[in-house]
Amino acid sequence: MDKILPNIRESILKSGLKDGMTISFHHHLRNGDYVLNMVMREIAALKIKNLTIQASALFDCHYELIEHIKSGVVSHIETNYMSGRIASAISHGILKNPVIFRSHGGRPAAIKSGRVHIDVAFLAAPAADKMGNSNGSLGKSACGSLGYAIPDSECAEKVIIITNTLLPYPLFPASIKESNVDYVVKVDAIGNPEGIVSGTTRITRDPIALKIAEYAAKLIKYSGLLKNGFSFQTGAGGASLAVTRYLKPIMKELEVKGSFGLGGITKYLVDMLNEGYFEALQDVQCFDLQAVSSIRDNPKHIEISATEYSSPLSKSRATSSLDVVVLGATQIDTDFNVNVHTDSFGIITGGSGGHSDTAEDSKLSIIVAPLFRARLPLIVDKVQCISTLGAHIDALVTQRGIAINPKRQELYEILKDAALPVMPIEELKKITEKYTGIPDKISPIEKCVAEVESRHGKIIDCIFAVE
């Protein structure tokens, strides 16, 4: 017996997909993904209409969705992150109803609770066997962890694995289990390796980002959290990733042994694991080839599902054991609300991902960002979109100073004596405006193109259409 079907069209037909249903995809192949487009082309050819796309994230490579929206194949999108041409089209009002943005923890919670029902999950797998056991560690398109695909595989009515590498049964370790899989389709390629993971993530050499990272590492040092058992997550870009460069020598100096690194995993956290700075890595997504190799070869580098990562409905989750998270921001307002969904003009350029989950759960959430990019200020009176509530942000670190959320008065008192440039966020805003001036207010079109849902299921903001 096997579950192998000859092609994607056959799997769609076998799945019973009908007009108005919901189909899901994961984003572990990121901007190199071929699978979503391949599936959607077949669905369009079968003249199935009015579908909801339930994708953990969408990238520029998924721009073909624009045509599927225009032709009525797709009528609704729910996702955690969106960038590139599809994001721009959404901002310009291409969809009749608003996109629903969730977080990486909110999505599996919505799926598991039944608020989101997936009819058919089309799950790309870098390696699979004939019965559907699948993982992301093997094969020529290896992407490492398949953490975001696991809830879909567990809850969708029908699960179709699409792979370019069929390996002998039983494939192990299996991120996606055969017990959840209906069909397996082998294709020539599931993605472009260059877009799936970067060869090596590099820490920025931008001196401003490094200055910010240095301040952030010092803030962590003085926070009182940097002791044995310390746990840490950081983003993969700019100043966020650079914090690891400055944190490592501090951990060495203080002889601190961390318990785990979390999140999207990069070479730098892998190095810290291998050098003994952490006992383990909990990995929901790999960002580079070193992380992919590590999760395959090192038993201390553990794959976790999005549910285990940050679902609020889990009995416990990795983020709730997290001491410190370092995050980015497009904008932050004087109430510490953070926008990572849109640019300063209100055009969708991203999404929360794990931003709001980790900010809410961690003991210390730090935003690192330059005070201005080009001529646009970071700190504003009111953000274009609330992605993460200010109540969940503890500190903002910039190149000219650190602002502590007033709700963390005790942290402010500690840092005041630590020779760090701590000041109110309003003062940082004033400093910025000396360079940038005060930007004109954006006048969006009164049409909601996307709603931001907190991981607890409440709509916290709306993104309006732009001209």
């Binding site: 050499r205 001196p207 401003i208 490094l210 200055k211 201005f372 190149q399 000219r400 000396k434 360079y435």
Partner: protein
């Protein structure tokens, strides 16, 4: 203190906006080599407006102007001096007459701008063989001279020497610059270490410069600033020794001793002077306690 002097390209708005957060003791806003001939006008305008609009600490601001023999040099000086930066860095300075000529021009502008005559100090860039040989005369040519700055890249080209990381080819020039500067009681600034990725090489190069007597070192990379500052900052061991020297001398005076020793070694005048200078530097850096 002039431990670290960071070059900021005069045509880079983002670097100009953030010049003061990069940790250098002073920043050299560059209108010369960092700016291509076609961009000179635009960069000058940018620098003028940056100095006017941004909160630069004028005492930390050095503007490197174009070479003396060029028309751009005169235009640079006419544009920059009225903005009252603490220092102008003339380039390709080869003899005392170069300084006299530029000082006359600056004096006219100071007068016209109602600035205190002589307030604009000079840090001449010595980067020719002739300049090295005339270093003392240059240092002694004007009260405006605050420091001599060795530029090794152009110098080694002029000397037809091979530039190396070890720097044996500039050993004479370094010593001559330091000696000339100290003879005139001004500061000496060492040439940048140009491999931005070789941090260990930078540390060694800065260590050599400090041991030769340089006050500080220029940098073309923000990543070198911290290392340079560290290299030119007295260690607490050095500070404690200097304090012990001063205490021993004062104790000797109280006891009416003609000769004083510390740890079995005689303390003579040069040792005392060195200790006083080091404690003065420590005080400026807030390290005296």
């Amino acid at each position: 203190m002039l431990r670290s002097l960071l070059f900021i390209p005069g045509n880079s708005p983002s670097m100009l906006q953030n010049a003061d957060v990069l940790g250098a003791d002073a920043y050299i806003i560059d209108l010369e080599d960092a700016v291509s001939p076609k961009e000179k006008d635009a960069a000058r305008l940018l620098v003028i407006n940056a100095i006017k609009a941004l909160d630069f600490d004028k005492n930390k601001t050095i503007v490197r102007v174009n070479p003396l023999h060029t028309e751009d040099c005169t235009v640079d000086i006419q544009a920059i001096v009225p903005l009252a930066p603490a220092f102008i860095m003339p380039t390709k300075v080869s003899c005392a007459e170069d300084i006299i000529k530029i000082s006359e021009l600056i004096e006219l502008i100071e007068e016209k701008s109602k600035l205190e005559i002589g307030r604009t100090k000079l840090i001449p860039l010595i980067e020719t063989a002739e300049g090295i040989e005339n270093a003392y005369h240059i240092a002694n040519s004007s009260d405006r001279i605050a420091a001599l700055f060795l530029g090794a890249e152009d110098l080694t080209s002029d000397m037809q020497a091979i530039r190396t990381k070890q720097g044996n080819e500039i050993a004479y020039a370094r010593s001559r610059i330091v000696t000339a500067a100290r003879a005139c009681n001004i500061e000496a600034i060492d040439t940048p270490f140009t491999d931005a990725h070789d941090y260990e090489g930078l540390i060694e190069d800065a260590r050599i410069a400090r041991s030769l007597g340089f006050t500080g070192k220029a940098s073309i990379s923000p990543h070198h600033v911290e290392g340079i500052n560290k290299a030119f900052t007295p260690t607490y061991e050095e500070i404690n020794y200097a304090k012990n020297v001063i205490e021993a001398i004062e104790e000797g005076k109280r006891l009416g001793k003609g000769a004083v020793s510390l740890g079995g070694k005689m303390i003579d005048r040069p040792i005392v002077l060195r200790a006083q200078k080091l404690l003065n530097v420590a005080k400026q850096l807030g390290m005296e306690n």
